[in-house]
């Protein structure tokens, strides 16, 4: 069973509230839900939509065709009716003139007197969201109590009057459909409630699981959700969260906090990350562990701020002057978002290096169902952090913070530990941290830092293979896992998913790749940045590639079609246009 509900409205007119509430109702009923919001970079005007995909199995992707469309405005009908399934349902405001919208004959149209209901119930016009949701549940034959419960949870703090008014308009919407429409569907809750949250929230929870105790950031879409989440309960969760005056400050603050002994991270998107790069290099030479969360969006520069792209791998790899080891991670599903975010803090401390945690607008702002919370694994490892007391320093001596070691990682102390005095330094240094420009020590310190790489490769995650009994496989990284898995079900190809992007172990990659007749890379960018990296590092090239860079994720149907095309003629595919929704319609500049 799978149901695609699409809600469309002008920005600020409730599409997200409705979508998020609907998602919550169905995940509480034991379903898996994927929520996918799209919006332009505007607070008002512009068009917003929210897809709610409800399934009785794991679902990590939007799909293309809808079963129900809720149209709060006329644009919704214009933009989204083409992608409605045959005989599907349009629920719309009865005051909308649907002439000229191109709405097809086969679609069942339910004209909902939303404003009438609001007036009749003496309610606030903002409450009409719940009239639509009441009507939706009636259409689906889903118990209304589930919506009532959601309303009570959401508004009980605002008093009984508000709760009651919302309940009345919800019930009126429900009753209207029950009375005027012969609902054939019968949908029931199927299991225990499951957590429903954005990718950014899952990543935040992951960081907390990993022991995060300091976070600093400057707001930037689509990374801001992490700042919002962490600050909300900072005094419950034992985290100090700081909104810095700029990203340079955010990065340096987090590095300072890490030096002082806390597990620290910062987060931003590409533009803000550009400002952090000098700090990356400092963390590298001073060997201060740091996690930097980077939620990619459409570039170059301000690009399309609220749309998705996977274009920043080389920004991360090239960040910071000089040569030094670093790790780049990119989770793709909710369990990975929690586990890998947690583990990123381990990796940073085990190797005393900068670790980059990549997501993108699609992963960060989509809503996921956590259906495997009980399997989340994490084991704390603080690496060579000093414990207990240190041997007494002789007068005038400093602690050998940068001791030359076999594995390249030196024992670490933090301020407050007696006999650990040293200077973390952005200069090259002796073992005891005093600055030096002597050739021998320079080479010894470069080699020391570089020796970490062998252990890092051992520690690296294997690319994960999802088998659909294919003899060819599509390679994806990070956020594109969900669409790929869905595409593979019908397309009968295997999916190889990378969550560890750098550095790459040839052995581990070959282990995944060698089983296939052909490999294709599918990426949400125009030049195949990960494909390039794999070729550069390992000399491996795919047979063909699938790319999309119009600001939206690869959709399953598109990926499936692209693979079919490649199988036919061996040529790479660029997905240029959506088959249904026209991206132009969202454009704030073209209204």
């Amino acid at each position: 069973m799978e149901l695609n509900i699409k809600i469309g409205a002008a920005a600020g007119e409730g599409a997200f509230v409705m979508g998020a509430t609907a998602g919550k109702i169905f995940t509480r009923g034991g379903y898996c839900v994927f929520g996918y919001p799209e919006y332009p970079s505007l607070i008002r005007e512009g068009h917003n939509s929210y897809q709610v995909i409800v399934s009785d199995r794991k679902i990590l992707t939007p799909t293309m065709e809808s079963d129900v469309v809720i149209a709060v405005n006329k644009n919704t009908i214009k933009f989204h009716s083409e992608s409605m399934k045959k005989g599907s349902i349009l629920l719309f405001d009865s005051e909308l003139d649907i002439n000229g919208t191109g709405i097809r004959e086969d679609i069942v149209k339910i004209s909902l007197p939303v404003n009438g209901i609001i007036k009749e119930q003496k309610a606030d016009p903002k409450m009409k969201n719940f009239t639509y949701l009441g009507a939706l549940l009636a259409v689906l034959g889903y118990p209304l109590e589930e919506l009532n419960k959601a309303i009570e949870d959401q508004f009980s703090r605002k008093g009984k009057e508000i709760v009651d008014a919302n309940l009345r308009v919800a019930n009126a919407g429900y009753d209207f459909v029950k009375k005027n429409y012969d609902a054939k569907q019968e949908m029931k809750p199927i299991g225990k409630p499951r957590p429903y949250m954005t990718g950014n929230e899952a990543i935040s929870i992951g960081l907390l699981k990993g022991g995060l105790s300091f976070f600093s950031a400057y707001p930037m879409t689509p990374a801001t959700g992490v700042l919002h989440y962490l600050i909300k309960n900072q005094d419950r969760d034992g985290v100090v969260v700081m909104q810095a005056e700029d990203e340079i400050s955010a990065a340096n603050m987090a590095i300072g906090a890490s030096f002082a002994g806390s597990r620290a991270a910062t987060g931003t998107s590409g533009g803000g990350f550009a400002l952090m790069t000098e700090a990356v290099s400092m963390a590298a030479i001073a060997e201060t562990p740091i996690v930097m969360f980077l939620a990619q969006r459409v570039g170059p520069s301000t690009g399309m701020p609220t749309w998705t792209e996977q274009g920043d791998i080389f920004q991360v790899l090239g960040a910071g002057q000089g040569e030094f080891p670093r790790v780049v991670l990119a989770p793709g599903d909710p369990k990975e978002m929690i586990e890998i975010s947690a583990d990123s803090l381990n990796i940073a401390e085990e190797f005393q290096i900068p670790v980059f945690l990549l997501s993108d607008k699609f992963l960060s702002e989509s809503y996921y169902t956590i259906d495997d919370a009980e399997h989340i694994k994490f084991k704390l490892n603080r690496g060579k952090m000093a414990k207990g007391s240190l041997p007494e320093l002789k007068p005038g001596e400093r602690y050998k913070r940068y001791a030359i070691t076999d594995d390249g990682v030196s024992p670490r102390t933090v301020p407050g530990i007696p006999n650990g005095q040293h200077v973390a330094s952005s200069y090259e240094h002796y073992e005891d941290s005093f600055s030096t420009e002597l050739f021998d020590m320079r080479v010894a310190q470069v080699d020391k830092r570089a020796r970490k790489i062998a252990k890092i490769l051992e520690r690296s995650y294997e690319p994960k293979v999802y088998s659909f009994k294919g003899d060819d496989a599509v390679v994806v990284w990070g956020s594109q896992l969900g669409p790929a898995l869905k595409a593979a079900e019908n397309g009968k190809f295997d999916v190889i998913h990378f969550t560890w992007l750098y550095p790459l172990s040839k052995e581990k990659v070959m282990k995944a790749f060698s089983n296939y007749k052909a490999i294709y890379f599918a990426e949400n960018n125009s030049t195949g940045v990960f494909e390039k990296l794999v070729k550069m590092e390992l000399g491996i090239e795919p047979k063909a590639s699938i790319r999309k860079y119009n600001g939206r994720p690869l959709l399953p149907q598109q990926m499936e079609n692209a693979v079919a095309e490649i199988r036919k003629n061996g040529k790479s595919v660029v997905i240029r246009n959506e088959e249904h929704d026209d991206f132009e319609f969202y454009s704030p500049w073209r209204y």
């Binding site: 105790s213 005056e245 700090a279 400092m282 001073a286 005038g396 007696p418 006999n419 005095q421």
Partner: protein, 291 residues
């Protein structure tokens, strides 16, 4: 009591003979030891510049970070462990030019640490270019002829942005500088000390002599350091009288506002990031909230 010797290191500073930084180092060691602060619990945070080499010359913890980024680095350290004594120190180019934005915002945040600017009115380490506080008459490599730029007034900037401890001293007066450092470090909240520092290699205007002829002690002159308007007038004074007289001492001191590390909701509950027990974090409640 921590005596000065515990701060000694084996290495000798490598500043030019006669550099004001020698005096500043002596003052800093005296101030910390006289305040009886444990070297293990002291972090000297610097940037990049001649003066920023100072953390290497006294044996506490230190971070010699990036040019211009002393303040956020110091704030991160202090907010992660408020038990530490954190002192940021660096040049005028570092703090007032490259790090200008942080200097504007530090008083808003009001984290409890001290920021000392070694103000030699020049970029010394990079061999003599114009700094934000370079006086108009000082010819240098990037102002060879024209007097193009006005001189910044860091004390006034600190004051109008809400810094609640603002002081100045002359590096040639080690005792007074140490006294000012002690006061600044003891202040609860962001405190700012501007140290006038001769640079014998690149600044032939603001010499020891120049300062000795002009500096006068605000406290001896009866300045009321609790009066903001009087403080601002004193900060403006040399800019109005062509630097005929240069006030040093405490311009302004106000203890009414608690520092961020006391009022921040997490720290106010006594949860210190650096000593958080992270062995087994339970995320059950967070998942439950998302039901």
């Amino acid at each position: 009591m921590a005596n000065v010797e515990v701060f000694n290191v084996n290495e000798k500073p490598q500043w030019c003979a006669g550099c004001g930084d020698y005096g500043i180092l002596a003052s800093l060691k005296a101030a910390i030891s006289e305040l009886n602060i444990n070297p293990n619990e002291t972090v000297i945070v610097s940037g990049i510049g001649c003066g920023s080499k100072i953390p290497h010359y006294l044996r506490s913890y230190g971070y010699e970070g990036l040019h211009g980024r002393i303040l956020p680095l110091a704030e991160g350290i202090k907010m992660a462990n408020p038990k530490l004594t954190v002192i940021g120190i660096g040049g005028d180019g570092d703090g007032l030019s490259e790090g200008g934005n942080h200097f504007l915002h530090a008083p808003r945040k009001n984290v409890n640490y001290t920021y000392i600017v070694q103000d030699n009115h020049i970029y010394a380490l990079t061999t003599g270019q114009t700094s934000p506080t370079t006086p108009k008459g000082l010819k240098n490599k990037t102002s060879p002829t024209e007097e193009l730029y006005e001189q910044m007034n860091p004390l006034a900037v600190a004051l109008v942005n809400g810094t609640r401890f603002v002081a100045a001293s002359f590096a040639g007066n080690i005792k007074h500088t140490a006294e000012m450092m002690k006061k600044a470090i003891s202040h609860k909240g962001f405190s700012y000390l501007n140290i006038y520092q001769p640079c014998v290699s690149w600044n032939n205007v603001n010499t020891y002599q120049w300062y000795m002829q002009r500096c006068y002690d605000l406290q001896q002159a009866g300045h009321d350091s609790s009066n903001f308007d009087a403080a601002l007038a004193k900060a403006m004074e040399p800019y109005r009288n062509g630097f005929e007289k240069l006030p040093v001492g405490i311009f302004y001191e106000n203890n009414e506002r608690k520092p961020l590390d006391e009022i921040h909701p997490t720290l106010a509950k006594g949860m210190i990031p650096a000593s958080k027990d992270i062995t087994n974090i339970d995320i059950g409640k967070m998942l439950e909230e998302a039901l």
